[in-house]
């Protein structure tokens, strides 16, 4: 069946796009010529920027705002020392409080892509407190940013004919009319395994579409990211969840960098949590030992502590 609302919108959006581009070209011919000579499409400047950030973060040449309470990034020996201190403190403090306090001291006040040494320090911190092998870079892959805003997403249809009523108990966000980036999770209801139920329940959305090499490294990247496990940490309260990447987005112009399923968002911040700052790191789990869902790391040491709601 023809999707008339979408077709109508597409047609008008394309015309608007052409009109805006032509107007820019006519008004600023020197700028148009500049981008032509540089071989860059202004419409794809985000990918160019992501490429520069990636290279700069690796070589440490970016002029990043310093982390809170620190004028300089730590040296590797400082990282080791701080983690050792952490181990000593852990005996006395609630792990979640320790995580929150350390995140405060490592993360910058303003959300931005992190430098590699900041990410390394966070990897150590997370491993030590939650015992999850989280990595900002895994097998050479890295997201455009590992620190950003997460927004609430809808449930995804898992098989043809799936409806919202099958996704209890969180119905408020609804079910997306379209499919996730990797289509249905199963061909039919009968083929939906417990594992796939969990994959949709605890799903994350990341901006694969803005990766600088997304188009040029297909189908490898598409397969690599499909259901890739990530650790999401709410940087305000330390609540953490293991999720699988099952959709691509959100659009860059929404002010968000990641998305979370209704279950993920509920666990990260409670029923009213719609947007907040998080860290997202890949999980190095070749043997598939890390389960999807909440990371109840307080229970590793103190069984009576409950997670904090915001």
């Amino acid at each position: 069946m023809k999707n008339t609302a979408a077709d109508n919108f597409r047609e008008k959006l394309k015309l608007k796009n052409i009109e805006v581009q032509n107007s820019f070209k006519e008004k600023f011919p020197e700028a148009h010529k500049f981008f032509l000579e540089k071989g860059i499409e202004l419409g794809k400047i985000r990918q160019h920027s992501a490429r520069l950030i990636g290279a700069g973060a690796l070589t440490g040449t970016l002029l990043l705002a310093p982390p809170t309470g620190s004028g300089q990034l730590p040296t590797p020996s400082e990282i080791i020392k701080s983690v050792e201190n952490l181990k000593d403190n852990k005996i006395q403090e609630i792990p979640q409080k320790l995580l929150i306090d350390n995140l405060k001291s490592i993360l910058p006040e303003v959300v931005r892509p992190l430098a590699r040494d900041e990410e390394k320090r966070l990897e150590q911190l997370i491993k030590d407190i939650t015992n999850i092998p989280a990595k900002a870079s895994l097998e050479g892959e890295h997201l455009n940013t590992t620190y950003g805003y997460i927004g609430a997403e809808q449930h995804l249809k898992r098989y043809p004919g799936d409806i919202l009523e099958n996704h209890g108990p969180y119905y408020k966000e609804g079910i997306a009319p379209g499919l996730g980036a990797w289509g249905y999770f199963a061909h039919s209801k009968g083929e939906l395994t417990t594992n796939l139920v969990d994959t949709e329940k605890w799903y994350a959305v990341v901006q694969t579409l803005y990766l600088p090499d997304w188009s040029s490294r297909q189908p490898y990247l598409r397969d690599w990211y499909k259901y890739r496990k990530v650790l999401i940490v709410n940087t305000k309260n330390g609540n953490s969840v293991v999720a699988s990447i099952a959709d691509s987005g959100p659009a860059a112009w929404t002010g968000k960098h990641f998305g979370g399923s209704p279950e993920v968002m509920e666990y990260l911040g409670g029923p009213r949590y719609k947007k907040g700052t998080v860290l997202i790191f890949f999980i190095d789990d070749p043997e598939n030992k890390v389960s999807l869902g909440p990371v109840e790391y307080n229970k590793l040491n103190i069984s009576s502590e409950s997670l904090i709601q915001i």
């Binding site: 999707n3 805006v20 400047i45 920027s49 970016l62 931005r112 499919l179 860059a252 112009w253």
Partner: protein, 112 residues
């Protein structure tokens, strides 16, 4: 630092909700997102160049090309234009949101 220096000034949530509502597939949704993204980049850069005296255009374009993520570009623009460019870009985005919304209003006038 954002991915683009103006990212924090551009939030078009309502358009995104509209796109999610009408898209039937992930490909369609991403196609719409990219079209909107291209419009935004041209609008924002046009807005910057509109307000920036022409003698600074070359320097600004070089700076933008070398570090599109650098939020210091806003300080540069404020200094050279002697205007509050954050405010101006936000206003431009409000107008764009209205424009894009009107695109989708297919209410027809009754034929008399």
């Amino acid at each position: 630092m954002s991915i683009l220096f103006f990212d924090k000034l551009v939030v078009l949530d309502k358009i995104d909700r509209k796109i999610k509502k009408i898209s039937s597939s992930n490909e369609e949704r991403q196609e719409f997102w990219q079209l909107v993204e291209e419009i935004i980049h041209h609008k924002v850069l046009g807005c910057c160049l509109d307000n920036l005296p022409s003698e600074h255009h070359c320097e600004f374009l070089e700076k933008f090309h070398n570090a599109p993520y650098d939020e210091k570009l806003l300080e540069y623009l404020d200094e050279k234009t002697k205007k509050d460019m954050k405010k101006i870009i936000k206003e431009e985005m409000k107008l764009l949101t209205k424009d894009l919304f009107l695109l989708d209003s297919h209410k027809m006038k009754p034929i008399l």
